[in-house]
């Protein structure tokens, strides 16, 4: 119990306290602690990456061994991993290497394609969902239309009224970003900041313990 519960809590409390105190003390010992912390944390992150690779391998090998649903995709995943490693070992990882070309013309292309489908889903969804059925919906609709036109050059092109001194769509969209948007985002950021601070205190003081597992 000590190793699984008390010890992690003690380490978290001590490290939290040390790092908080050192931040406010401009002294060479404090600096030494900070520099060593950064070095150690990077080393731990590298171990974390290795752990991730091993976990990835274990999950897919188990799936193949147990022939769970879609286990064939695990073979493709592992084969892809192996192929990329072999290509990097044979031909390096420079600009015109096999490794780089495989990435650009398969993985990158697939990722970009899947993401670009969003344009179609968004247009279909906005056609169906953007209904002016209440005052709030009208406000949202107007803001969305102004932003959509204001962020593209056609917004300036059609703002013929700007010649008479009336703000163009682009100007109004910039105002939306700089005023109402900024006010809302600041309020959210302050809330998130205070929430993070409280959560950090709860972790350091051992009140929040979900990171320990069950």
């Amino acid at each position: 119990m000590f190793w699984k519960k008390q010890l992690p809590l003690i380490i978290v409390f001590m490290m939290g306290l040390i790092m908080t105190v050192q931040y406010f003390i401009p002294h060479h010992v404090s600096k030494w602690v900070y520099v060593n912390y950064v070095d150690w944390a990077i080393v731990i992150a590298i171990f974390g990456a290795f752990l991730g690779y091993f976990s990835f391998l274990r999950v897919h090998i188990t799936r193949i061994r147990k022939k769970t649903s879609n286990w064939v995709f695990s073979i493709i995943t592992l084969a892809s991993l192996l192929i990329m490693i072999v290509f990097a070992l044979i031909d390096g990882k420079g600009s015109d290497s096999l490794f780089q070309n495989m990435f650009l013309y398969t993985s990158a292309a697939i990722n970009a394609t899947v993401f670009s489908l969003l344009a179609f889903y968004i247009s279909s969804a906005s056609y169906r969902a953007f209904r002016a059925h209440s005052a709030q919906a009208v406000a949202l609709l107007l803001a969305a239309v102004i932003m959509m036109l204001g962020r593209v050059p056609i917004g300036d092109k059609i703002s013929f009224w700007s010649a008479w001194g009336i703000p163009s769509i682009n100007t109004v969209s910039q105002w939306i970003l700089n005023s109402p948007n900024m006010a809302a985002k600041r309020a959210i950021a302050l809330g998130v900041g205070l929430g993070s601070l409280l959560m950090t205190l709860k972790i350091i003081l051992g009140i929040e313990r979900t990171y320990l597992g069950n």
């Binding site: 780089q100 650009l104 990722n111 344009a119 279909s124 593209v152 970003l177 985002k185």
Partner: protein, 274 residues
Amino acid sequence: MGFFKKLEKLDRRIIYIVITLAVILPFFFPMHMPIAIQPEVKSIYDYIESLTPTDIVLFSGDYDPQVEAELSPMFDAVLAHCFEKNIKVIVANPFSIMGMGLVEPRLKKLADEYNKVYGVDYVFLGWRPGGFLLILGMGEDFNKTWETDYYNTRLVDIPLTQNIKDYDDIALVLALAGSAAYNSWIVFAYAQYRQKIAAGITAVMAADAYPALQAGQLIGIMGGLRGAAEYEQLVHRPSLGSVGMEAQSWAHVVIILFIILGNLGYFASRKRKK
């Protein structure tokens, strides 16, 4: 089914076809619409204009292929500007392993175009585990944090990097991010070391970054394809960003028209029900 009912329940395939045409046709029939330059983009341009050939700009290419269409034109435009002015460039990917594969060929292509020498004019660091810890580490000892470049050459053996100690030697960090990675630069590099940071982010994320811009934590923002197109106009290098803006313009107009059609159908059917 009546006309207005049909308007309300338009087949999604029709929407898809019209959107496809709205996106593709402008590439073949561009209208060359002028793009107004926003102050948040101009401020990045002005800052880079003020740099000298001894200065170093660090590009943080933390984006994945999903958002490459928006962020790579920014990378190209700002990099071309730096090379044009003989400013030294370091490219790294502290947060995105995939970004490494996207920026490396672009960096090499532009470096060849401007006859830049690797190790003297530019260096590519790539990715390594650590994320925000790398940002903190660079503030203490740049070379110790990265140790080697992407091609496994020690940074102390590369002329451009051997004398870099910390952020005092970096004039600007351009955080190109398809995630909240730019925020880590603000939290760790700006807050701790007062490093000057500019952000190149996707259009959907741009609204989040404006408070940081107004607070002076960012010197400028390039938001989405429009930000890239504006920078291309500033450096007189119209490319994918500028061409893409026309497609985006027409796609937005089509979506707005569909929203209007949908609402016409909705109001007509509501009136009939009453």
